[in-house]
């Protein structure tokens, strides 16, 4: 089964549609959305409707912290820029979109795969997986062979060997990586809607559960258009610039 894994879409219509177009060429059997459909970007309605449409047709979707904040179930406060967009987003959503955000689970599973937005050890606390130590923590929390999460916006791949050693690898886009062998893996596809690794192209990943082969993808998209939409909506300028520079 071929999975298309998309995360941190952040109301970026241009990026999401480019990723979905790119993924369609590979005919994925199942789409998996790892959270943060809203926040930062200017098209929350379109992005939510699109994700909901995919979920209706069998896609898996979990809840991100921006989704929780918009639904009003986040206990912590966010940074001012992020909070400002949440306030802007909330009144724009229709009731079916709010209901969708409310209904999202924190985690999901499929065969040997485990999905969460931030981490598997305490998904509701939104701690990041940013280091090999975090990845080791995550791989100790659940027994699955493959963990996929988002929240951290940079693509990453960690593996835990049968000897308990943890490895980190900076993914090369387009290269099929075999995740076989007596080891377990944690992959972060990278943000589709707001890349921060210096490469403005949208990120997502494809995972073939049969051949256990993972491919990170980078998709150039109309990021100038997405930034213009952020500015036109009167959202904070740094959020527009970030789409242009991926800084």
């Amino acid at each position: 089964m071929l999975l298309a894994l998309l995360t941190d879409l952040h109301a970026n219509r241009q990026a999401l549609s480019a990723c979905l177009d790119d993924a369609a060429d590979f005919s994925p059997d199942r789409y998996v959305f790892l959270g943060d459909y809203v926040g930062y970007g200017a098209d929350p309605e379109w992005v939510l409707d699109t994700v909901m449409h995919y979920v209706e047709w069998g896609a898996i979707a979990v809840r991100g912290n921006h989704d929780a904040a918009t639904a009003g179930t986040l206990r912590r406060s966010m940074r001012p820029d992020a909070q400002a967009v949440i306030e802007w987003t909330r009144p724009r959503l229709a009731s079916h979109q709010r209901d969708f955000l409310h209904s999202l689970p924190l985690t999901a599973e499929l065969e040997q795969c485990f999905f969460a937005h931030a981490n598997p050890w305490q998904p509701e606390e939104w701690e990041y997986v940013l280091s090999p130590a975090d990845a080791a923590h995550a791989l100790a929390a659940v027994p699955h062979k493959f963990i996929f999460c988002g929240h951290a916006h940079d693509p990453a791949l960690y593996n835990l060997s049968s000897m308990g050693k943890l490895g980190h690898y900076l993914p090369v886009p387009g290269q099929a990586i075999p995740l076989a062998g007596p080891r377990r893996w944690l992959a972060i596809p990278g943000s589709a809607g707001q890349p921060r690794d210096g490469n403005p192209a949208a990120a997502y990943a494809l995972f073939d559960t049969d051949s256990q082969s993972l491919t990170f993808r980078r998709v150039p998209y109309d990021n100038a258009g997405a930034a213009a939409a952020v500015r036109a909506a009167g959202l904070p300028e740094p959020l527009a610039r970030r789409l242009e520079t991926a800084g």
Binding site: L157, N159, S161, S162, M163, K165, L166, G167, H168, Y169, V172, Q175, I177, P178, A180, G181, P182, R183
Partner: protein
Amino acid sequence: MARLDFQPGQQIDGFTLQEKLADGGMATIWAVSHAHFRGEMVMKLPRLRGEDDPTAIVGFETEQMILPRLHGPHVPAFVASGDFTAQPYLVMERVGGASLRARLDDLPLSVEVVASIGARVAEALHDLHRQQVIHLDIKPSNILFRPDGTAVLVDFGLARHDRLPDLLAEEFRLPLGTAPYMSPEQVLHDRNEPRSDLFALGVMLYYLLTGVRPFGFPTSQAGVRKRLWRDPTPPRALRADCPPWLQQIILRCLAVDPAQRFATAAELALVLRHPDQLPLTALADKREADALWPVFKRWLRALGREPVAQHSAAERLDRAPIVMVAVDVSPGQEALNESLLRSVRLLMSVAGEARLACVSVLKTQRIGIDFNEDEAGRNLRVKRMVSVRHWAKPLALPEARITFHVLAAPDPASALVEFARQNQVDHLIMGARESSALRRHLGSVSAQVVAESPCSVTVVRRREQAH
């Protein structure tokens, strides 16, 4: 998970074990057959003794990851692999012929044989590096030869693929490799340097030539580290009939600093095939290992040294391509040759480590004439060599970056294509002659080269014609 007691006749995923061929420390090799696959195959079964032997497991994982991604005549063709959940194995083509290890009983080998082995292994290494893989365990037992003499590299258990996770670097603190052949940077845990394979090849050529290993057979970490400062005895001190050029080539491979070695395996193959093109340096004449003072200085530098920059096989090859220019010095081609010179100069200035091979073809009447044999032929050859050198003079390239070759062949296009293929040329530049009755009659050399060449080809026209 894995069993150790395999028997002839036993079935594994449809493969029938026939005969045990080798019993190594890390794996056993069996000849196998399969109803659906013809051709001779071997199955490699790792020896997994559990948690006490992680090198075998991770090395096998690494080979399972890399071998299926390799292709070409210099590696065994991949057939199938088995998962660790059941029985891990790798099935690959059985390469006929013994490994180079069998020759170790006959050491020392003749100069010609050593140079020929060196050139063939360097060609295989270049092909591997082009596929973005560094072998990192080059030694006689990992080198086989096909019946036509082509070198085949086996055992990718320590190899490094540019674009895939390096499972080994993550797992082990000790340097990985075979002690006598390990490069200084491998000693320092750098697994991203393609020129490490040139160092190991240098060790091997030294050994084949002299019967002595340049750095002995150290059994301790401290012993292995010594190669960071202690240079080997020059081969000519051990073998009087070693020609200066071969000593220079071997000692350059054994340089501590990878930047002092050949830029690529293709360049090494080129000089081994054309030793007359090698400008000799002080290395060629060296009669003894360095005195204590320079060794002491290197020792000081090696103290607490860590690996430096990150690099990769792909980057290395991009930086040091082999460029070939086909020069036609016949009268009337002056304007074209000027355009050709401009294009070559531009390309050589962009790729700062590029090597240029200037090739000119003497057209012979028929196959079988050897220009070296008669006086007239020799004269023609020398004259042609002089004109090609004259053409290249304005490029002002240092001797180490340029070679000259005069080929004699009835069909110039085929000769150029063949040279490009044999010397692993990355980019071929040639001029397009103006149209003429003769050209219409004979067909265009450049068109045939473009169609048949294994590499990129740039065809240069006279500037006036370009409009």
